[in-house]
């Protein structure tokens, strides 16, 4: 088929003016890329230059031109749709676990369906439907979870019996199946033709397309894209879009200022056969058998079948470039296990004749999610790459979001999970990428149970206490490359397989975390929280305060030594970040934000702070080790170690002071714990970390101190209705929508970002409301556990999804946090969500198709807070992060 595609493509002459495909003989074929007899010369300037003529580049061009951008140039080093796009299996599948990816795939499907009509280019679009098979009960649970989220989006989808599977697809051996998920509207396309169709439409809208033009590098001046250098000359431009697929990494590194795009290619194999004796119908559904690691679609009367093997073959690690993907070696021995799986699934195909084994590299990312957005170091430098082999499914939607991003400054949906800025330079190591993608590729079809962690590329960033904690039984997870403790396995515990016994039900660390929580409530625990992003902002004059007052919604003009919880909002009032800021002196501030904010927050501030040498922003994340002392006895431990009174009268809540702890001086002590429990966080210069930790543990012994991990922290914060940025809060959520009006000072006497929207919301109400749900009839031991992303039903109607959940050891109930919307029953239009609307409903949470009654609350249980607090004691009402 690759040969066939190749022939097809070389027979096609790219004609910008008359996009009709004309077959020409070889001798007449010219190398020119347009209808003109001579290659059209490159323009000297353009508003947008897109590099890459695959599905991503053409989709961005298509959407940009539709949105009114006229001055667009698309450059392709070889021929259009000649890279991965050409070889792509052409399956449009909407069954995606990540919500934003699901939305992109859904949009792509709708787009491709009408594309042939719009452009006149045959796309081969065929609505075949797809069937995902489950060989195990756990797999069926994961399919049911996806089915729930597809259904609430209005995408038809049902869980079907094995018997039904054999009715839909006669060749399937069903004896080892426990069930399946059927998505009837999934489709097949010719991916190369979809790409050509998008290019045709874009070209009609004025996009200039130049084939056989390579971008050598992008020029950046003062952190702003100024143009691209190509082998045919230079183009000045305002925006550059890197859609170079598996070459995106290299292209990003080609300029003087590197743009880190963590993608890495792996070989990907699929098989093409001759037609069956009785050729397969082109409307036969596509089969995905994740437990067998394969997919099977009908192809020209025969089948096309590939998969994601356990032992992937990464390639181009050393960055060997090449013009177009040459036919890489077929490797039958490597494909063997997948062939076995295919014949087990469809034993009737034994006698089917092989046509070809296609080797088509795909690019993968470190976290299995695609990469889009603007470079943190070069404004105007956009990226859309790393599709993890789902390029055709995401192509339409991803192109649309990126186009919106360029045109409007932000896409219409929350794309943080895909944002390039979730990565830093640390994920850009070639070795890291090579190792990580070898884990990611098989993960495509691995069962993803709650709280799975990557195993490769670990132990990169660690606290100085890493070895000490590890020796005490710490079990680790990773965030932004930083190792963080999940929980501590008590000595002598025989739970050797703790990390491997992953389940959708009650996990085996349940009692371990329960004991840690109990210790936080009754005595004192210490949690190493060094991974947090820490910035210092200082100035010679009042510049620091003035700028922060504009960029943050709370009032930062507080007395020295006070800590303020505040959102860093965008123009629409949404949370770009959620932080705690301590005023160290009149002119300097210490800012704590979530671990994965390191790149995003830095970029946001850098782009908005004035270029003033007297105003200094410094990333001090690496300088401090953070120990969180949680619990009623934290005050005793600390006062004994510092010979300073730490009671509320002397050290009130939300207070920050540099003091000595043990022999070490200059420890920043803050009376916050991020959990609503009493206690302190100690910011310790790293060389004192071990000393302070030892002192705390020794002194704490008589108060029953023990180590604890993030799972305990998480349970504590969720039961107190604390939202967490990146999980509950995002750029589309305002403080008003999550009950945090008290963290906004609308009247602080000066304008701040997002103020207008917040004022408007205060006046007219909000359209979604952050709500806490207590599961009522849920059996912790027997029932499936909530995770996040579960649909919420109010009076039987879908109103939103959960964003996080945890078991509360105090309430002895599961707590889910999520957003409630109010959709008009007739029109579906979004209406204002009032307190009454929330309170006057009967709620259910859908976990993998099973609904559990839930009690909705807009305020936390005050009984959970150990201390009576001052009225303005803000920590009570919900500030949190992880």
């Amino acid at each position: 088929a690759a040969g066939m595609f190749l022939r097809l493509l070389s027979d096609i002459q790219w004609r910008a003016a008359h996009p009709k495909w004309r077959r020409m003989t070889g001798s007449q074929r010219s190398t020119s890329t347009t209808a003109e007899p001579h290659p059209l010369s490159l323009p000297a300037q353009a508003q947008v230059v897109i590099c890459g003529g695959g599905i991503m580049g053409t989709s961005v061009a298509y959407h940009l031109s539709k949105m009114g951008f006229k001055d667009i140039v698309l450059l392709e080093q070889g021929r259009l749709a000649a890279g991965t796009t050409r070889f792509c299996a052409g399956i449009v599948s909407t069954a995606r676990p990540v919500s934003i990816e699901l939305k992109m795939a859904h949009y792509s499907n709708k787009l491709y369906q009408q594309l042939e009509q719009e452009t006149g280019v045959q796309t081969g679009y065929m609505k075949t439907g797809s069937i995902s098979l489950a060989q195990t009960q756990d797999r069926l649970i994961s399919l049911k979870r996806i089915a729930s989220s597809l259904n609430v989006m209005g995408i038809p989808c049902e869980i079907i019996s094995p018997k039904k599977v054999s009715q839909l697809h006669p060749l399937i051996n069903i004896h080892d199946l426990v069930g399946a998920m059927y998505v009837p509207e999934d489709a097949l396309v010719s991916s190369a033709n979809v790409s050509l169709a998008l290019a045709t439409a874009a070209s009609r809208n004025g996009v200039q397309i130049h084939e056989r033009t390579s971008v050598s590098h992008v020029t950046i001046q003062k952190g702003q894209v100024t143009g691209v250098e190509t082998d045919r000359g230079r183009i000045q431009c305002e925006y550059f879009v890197n859609c170079a697929g598996q070459w995106a990494y290299e292209l990003g590194h080609s300029g003087e200022e590197p743009v880190h795009i963590p993608v890495h290619a792996c070989e990907h194999f699929y098989l093409l056969t001759h037609p069956l004796q009785e050729p397969l119908s082109s409307s036969l559904p596509t089969i995905v058998d994740p437990d067998g690691r394969i997919y099977i679609r009908n192809w020209q009367g025969g089948i096309l079948s590939g998969g994601f093997e356990k032992n992937p073959k990464p390639l181009f690690t050393e960055g060997r470039n090449q013009l177009e993907i040459q036919n890489l070696q077929e490797d039958w021995d490597h494909f063997g296990p997948l062939l076995s799986a295919l014949l087990r699934r469809m034993p009737g195909l034994e006698a089917l004749q092989i046509m070809q084994l296609v080797n088509c590299p795909e690019s993968f990312t470190p976290d299995m999610r695609c990469i889009m957005g603007e470079s943190p170091t070069a404004r105007g430098y956009f990226v859309l790459a790393g599709m993890n082999s789902a390029g055709i499914s995401y192509g339409g939607g991803a192109g649309k979001y990126l186009a919106e991003w360029i045109v409007n400054g932000y896409p219409s949906e929350n794309v943080w999970p895909l944002d390039l800025k979730r990565f830093g330079t640390l994920q850009s190591s070639r070795t890291f990428l090579r190792h990580r993608v070898m884990e990611v590729m098989p993960l495509m079809y691995d069962l993803k149970v709650p709280r799975w962690d990557f195993q490769t590329g670990r132990q990169l960033r660690t606290s100085p206490l890493y070895d000490r904690l590890d020796a005490q039984g710490a079990r680790w997870m990773e965030k932004h490359g930083f190792e963080r403790v999940k929980y501590f396995v008590p000595p002598g515990s025989d739970l050797l397989d703790l990390d491997h016994s992953k389940t959708f039900y009650k996990p085996d660390w349940f009692d371990i975390v329960g004991a840690e929580v109990k210790c936080c409530k009754e005595a004192v625990c210490v949690i190493d929280m060094s991974s947090f992003t820490k910035f210092e902002i200082s100035s010679t004059g009042d510049q620091a305060l003035e700028n922060l007052q504009y960029l943050f919604s709370n009032d930062l003009d507080v007395p020295v030594g006070h800590v303020v919880h505040t959102g860093m909002l965008n123009e629409k009032g949404g949370y770009e970040n959620d932080c705690s800021i301590a005023r160290l002196s009149k002119r300097s501030f210490f800012m704590i934000s979530p671990t994965d904010q390191q790149v995003h927050c830095w970029t946001w501030l850098k782009n908005r702070l004035p270029d003033d040498s007297n105003l200094v922003l410094e990333d001090v994340t690496w300088k401090y080790t953070a120990l969180n002392l949680i619990g009623p006895r934290a005050v005793d431990v600390l006062s004994e170690l510092s010979y300073a009174p730490m009671t509320a009268e002397h050290f009130p809540s939300l207070f920050c002071k540099e003091m000595s702890v043990g022999y070490a001086n200059g420890i920043r002590v803050m009376s916050i714990t991020h959990t609503g429990e009493p206690g302190f966080v100690l910011y310790i210069p790293i060389e004192y970390a071990l000393h302070v930790y030892n002192e705390v543990m020794n002194m704490g012994q008589k108060y029953g101190i023990r180590n604890a991990g993030y799972y305990a922290l998480r349970s504590l914060r969720i039961e107190k209705f604390f939202a967490f940025w990146g999980q509950d809060l995002d750029a589309f959520t305002t403080p008003m929508e999550c009950g945090r009006e008290f963290q906004v000072k609308l009247d602080k006497g000066m304008e701040f970002l997002g103020q207008e929207v917040l004022l408007e919301q205060k006046q007219n109400g909000v359209y979604k409301r952050f709500t806490m749900f207590i599961l009522e009839d849920h059996d912790t031991d027997m029932d499936l556990w909530p995770w996040w992303g579960e649909p919420i039903f109010r009076n039987g109607r879908y109103v939103g999804k959960t964003t996080s959940s945890a078991y509360s050891y105090t309430l002895e109930r599961h707590v889910c946090l999520g957003f409630v919307h109010h959709f008009d029953e007739q029109t579906g239009e979004e209406l204002v969500v009032t307190t009454d609307f929330i309170n006057q409903g009967e709620y259910e949470i859908d976990i993998a198709g099973q609904r559990f009654q839930a009690k909705a609350k807009l305020y936390p249980f005050s009984s959970l807070f150990a201390q009576r607090r001052r009225k303005d004691d803000v920590e009570l009402s919900g500030y949190q992060r992880e």
Binding site: W332, D333, G336, L339, L343, L352, Q353
Partner: protein
């Protein structure tokens, strides 16, 4: 009873040994890259022995396998002593003189051999003085005989074999005042051993064989396939020439009784061997030695037993047949093995399995469908078979171990069957010998580059 794959591996690998010829200045100038060897016992204790050593006063490397019978004493003695006899036979006159002078004046002796031994390959400390004295007598005779001619390897090998067997016989006749040693030399003489020894020096490969162990050369053909070339003849009833030879050496009247049930005098499988004085000495000598010997010997029914139709001894010789082969670049390896291997595997399969092992899995030709008509089922079968082959290769770091795994575990399709392997290895001691023999294997790998360079010089 079932052995897990790691248990199987630990049994198979217990005796494995590998030697790589050290590289000088980044280059190995030897025609030998190194060797892998291994043993799998069936008898308890094992009656096979192996030896490997580098000659230090002449060029060349010696490798040998020895299959003992009626106990392991003879095989043990031959494995310790034969290479010294060969090395001495190869030494030029001046070196022999130098050594003798050193011994005479109590100076340090020039080392003759560098042994490459597995920790389980032991040397008898008690007998070393006795053995040394016999060896010294041999070189003194060589010095006296000084022929002035350069030593021919073939002749040296034949002389060494015959001389050692003679010494074994003599030592048993003379006896030793030390009762332990006296019993030892008798046990050595009354038991027997075959020997298959290779001497490699540059492109000259000599194989001296006595008995039914075998040397086989692995040759890679131009198309990459493997073939086997025999470098020894089995001395047993299946070898017509051997049967002829034995018949020639004895009166026609004995013709019928000489070879019975494929055995020499109806008793002995190999037609040539070290020791086995029961087939060499006169009846009188045998009786005298046994009677004057220690009680243990007298109590032993076997030693007292005289073979039937025993009229014109000797019936047995230790004289080897020597084959000389000039190594070519396509000669990739040499397999020396006792009959325990050859009973279970055809030499052609041995050549293929070792060849594929040594060249590595990556040399397995990739499959390309090309224009052929291949069905999914056919491809699946082919891949399954290749995978089985590869997985058995990956488990071993030693070519000899890999061969043993196949020899013991091969099913009817020629692939290693773990269940079969497990069964064969977990047989109780008393049953093991019924299903398999001791297996000893040395696989010598040649350096094609060096051999190619030699060829070009000539």
């Amino acid at each position: 009873f079932y052995l897990t794959p790691p248990q199987v591996n630990s049994i198979l690998k217990a005796n494995e040994y590998s030697f790589k010829v050290p590289e000088f200045d980044g280059k190995n100038v030897s025609s030998v890259l190194g060797f892998d060897s291994n043993q799998l016992p069936a008898n308890a204790p094992i009656e096979d022995r192996r030896s490997a050593a580098t000659c230090l006063q002449t060029r060349g490397m010696l490798l040998g396998v020895f299959d003992g019978h009626a106990g392991c004493a003879c095989a043990q003695a031959v494995s310790e002593r034969l290479f010294y006899y060969i090395a001495v036979s190869l030494l030029p006159h001046e070196t022999l003189l130098e050594i003798e002078n050193a011994v005479e004046s109590g100076r340090a002796l020039l080392p003759i051999l560098q042994w490459h031994k597995h920790p389980n390959d032991y040397f008898s400390k008690e007998a070393s003085k006795l053995y040394f004295n016999s060896l010294r007598t041999y070189w003194q005779e060589l010095i006296d005989l000084n022929s002035g001619e350069t030593t021919d390897v073939r002749e040296a090998l034949i002389n060494a074999f015959k001389r050692l067997d003679n010494d074994i016989s003599l030592e048993a006749q003379v006896g030793d005042p030390n009762s332990f040693l006296n019993y030892l030399v008798l046990r050595v003489a009354f038991s027997g051993s075959t020997a298959c020894v290779a001497h490699v020096d540059g492109v000259d490969l000599h194989v001296a064989n006595t008995g039914d162990s075998r040397a086989m050369l692995g040759v890679q053909e131009e198309d990459g396939s493997w073939s086997a070339v025999n470098l020894s003849y089995d001395h047993n009833a299946q070898n017509e020439h051997e049967v002829e030879r034995v018949k020639m050496e004895h009166p026609k009247s004995e013709e019928k009784s000489l070879v019975k049930q494929d055995r020499l005098l109806g008793l002995l499988m190999p037609f040539r061997a070290f020791g086995d004085v029961k087939f060499k000495w006169s009846i009188e000598l045998q009786k005298r030695v046994v009677e004057s010997g220690p009680d243990q010997l007298n109590d032993n029914e076997y030693t007292k037993f005289i073979p039937p139709n025993y009229y014109t001894p000797p019936y047995l010789t230790a004289e080897p047949e020597v084959i000389h082969h000039k190594l070519r670049p396509q000669d990739k390896f040499l397999v020396l093995a006792t009959d325990g291997l050859w009973e279970t595997m055809h030499r052609q399969d041995v050549a293929r399995i070792v060849g594929e092992y040594l060249t590595g899995v990556h040399h397995q030709q990739p499959i390309a469908v090309g224009g052929y008509k291949v069905t999914l089922g056919q491809m699946h079968g082919l891949l399954t078979e290749r995978r089985a082959r590869i997985s058995s290769v990956f488990e071993d770091q030693n070519a000899a171990t890999h061969l043993i795994r196949h020899a013991v575990g091969n099913n009817e399709f020629g692939t290693v069957d773990h269940e079969r392997l497990s069964k064969m290895l977990s047989l109780p001691e008393e049953l093991a010998r019924m299903y398999r023999d001791d297996i000893t294997i040395i696989v010598v790998q040649f350096n094609s580059h060096v051999i190619g360079a030699y060829q070009n010089e000539e």
